[in-house]
């Protein structure tokens, strides 16, 4: 009986894993990586976390959490468009949620391709938004570069998320 209660408490705590890991991933993209040739463009780790949890446990990453993390990311980024990341993450979540039945249980290569498409869509949206706000067509090269870097880092992010995923109780428990 005692064991049962303890397990339930732990279960509640581990339900926070998706939210916390997404938050940590968002902070990760702020760190100054000084890798030669990497420039100042960082991969969007938050997008990886939203992609992962939306496929496997959308119930544990509610819309409000995605919204809050997006806003926080923009505030920490010093972005003049607070809310843009929230918008992009929410739309990414919506798109992935619609296709999650197709993605569940697929080989990694296909998940990677799916993520690449989501990343491309997200950065296109950012590019279009900032271009409209500046009433000029921004150089798309940087956004393409960020899409490629984000997609290239997906295996690392995916591996870390899979580790975190082990702590999460199975759906329905």
């Amino acid at each position: 009986m005692v064991r049962h209660v303890w397990q339930r408490d732990l279960g509640t705590a581990t339900r926070l894993v998706p939210g916390i890991s997404t938050l940590l991933f968002a902070v990760l993209s702020l760190l100054p990586f000084h890798i030669p040739g990497f420039g100042s463009i960082a991969p969007s780790f938050a997008l990886m976390a939203v992609y992962h949890w939306t496929i496997y446990r959308p119930d544990l990453l509610p819309l409000f959490v995605v919204f809050a993390i997006g806003v926080l990311l923009d505030l920490l980024n010093g972005s003049p468009y607070v809310g843009l990341s929230a918008l992009v993450l929410l739309l990414a979540r919506t798109a992935v949620l619609a296709q999650r039945r197709l993605l569940i249980g697929q080989p990694f290569a296909l998940l990677w391709l799916g993520f690449f498409l989501v990343a491309a869509g997200s950065f296109f949206l950012e590019w279009a938004f900032v271009s409209i706000m500046h009433v000029t067509l921004l150089e798309p090269r940087l956004f393409i570069f960020q899409t490629l870097i984000t997609a290239a880092c997906f295996p690392i992010g995916s591996y870390l998320l899979a580790l975190a995923h082990r702590a999460v109780p199975v759906a329905g428990v």
Partner: protein, 294 residues
């Protein structure tokens, strides 16, 4: 309060459109420079900076390790280069000493009123914006170190950008490559005025330049001091290309910023606003103005 099932379902259906609407609205409003966002950014930056710094430390160690390995492989050629550079610099030192004396004599002659005391504070870069359309860094000094909005940030090589947000213990520096950065500059040789305009590319553009101005690559660009935000003569970069758009290669390596110097020249430029603390002497080392504006 318990909601009936249909109401609950309707509320759930509306959550997504509502949140999408709110985030889009915020993003558009934010451009209008709402004071609330400025405040929120500063508060969040201050709150999160210890975490970012703690998480960033192992990564900084790894980066340093990589840099050390790189250095090790080139230690011989580097040594050679440094010797040559040292020889050259010794000659410059000689020249500088001579000019310093001459300068002092000429100032005496003119009864020249020297610029106010210049103070600077060293700052560590703790976060990088990382976005494709953002070029800014967060540093670990703020209002308590005397940093104020509008102050220039420099490395030993040249200008990096200016302080745009100041928290208690953090500040944000807008790099001169950011799309929102516009810095009045002078081309050193011809004294031609221009504006250095960021567009997120590594090399910012030179705009508002006289059509008849003749430019060549390699010409030095320094701040002009127009607008009163920066003192004149801070080194910025050199003209890198003149075909079509005129691009400037900054002296400072903006892709690998680790330590910066936030400098207080005692200027109350057009950037100061009542919402941010006004400039006061920085807590760091005091250096004569002549050391900075070369």
């Amino acid at each position: 309060m318990r909601l009936s099932a249909p109401v609950k379902a309707a509320a759930q259906r509306l959550t997504l459109p509502f949140l999408i609407f709110v985030s889009a609205l915020l993003a558009i409003l934010g451009k209008a420079d709402v004071m609330l966002f400025d405040r929120a950014r500063v508060v969040m930056a201050d709150a999160v900076s210890p975490i970012v710094e703690a998480v960033g430390r192992p990564i900084a160690t790894i980066s340093e390790g990589i840099a050390k390995l790189e250095d090790m492989s080139t230690v011989y050629s580097q040594n050679q280069e440094l010797r040559e550079e040292n020889d050259r610099l010794l000659q410059w030192q000689e020249t500088a000493r001579r000019l310093d004396t001459e300068n002092a004599q000429l100032r005496d002659l003119l009864r020249f009123a020297p610029q106010g005391a210049v103070s600077s504070v060293a700052a560590q870069v703790i976060a990088d914006s990382g976005g494709a359309f953002l070029r800014n860094v967060m540093v670990n000094v703020g209002a308590r170190d005397g940093v104020a909005r509008g102050q220039p940030a420099m490395t030993g090589e040249g200008l990096v950008g200016r302080v745009v947000e100041v928290g208690d213990r953090t500040a944000r520096v807008l790099l001169l490559t950011d799309i929102n950065s516009h810095i009045p500059v002078t081309i050193e040789g011809s004294h031609e005025r221009a504006v250095l305009d960021g567009d997120n590319a590594d090399q910012p553009r030179l705009v508002y330049i006289q059509p008849k101005a003749e430019l060549t690559t390699g010409e030095r660009i320094v701040t002009s001091g127009s607008g009163g935000a920066f003192p004149p003569g801070l080194p910025v970069g050199v003209i890198a290309s003149v075909n079509g758009e005129i691009r400037v290669e900054p002296y400072a390596d903006l892709a690998r910023l680790e330590t910066l110097r936030i400098v207080n020249f005692g200027l109350d430029g057009m950037l100061s606003s009542s919402a941010v603390p006004s400039a006061k002497p920085l807590r760091g080392i005091r250096v004569p103005a002549s050391d900075l504006s070369h």
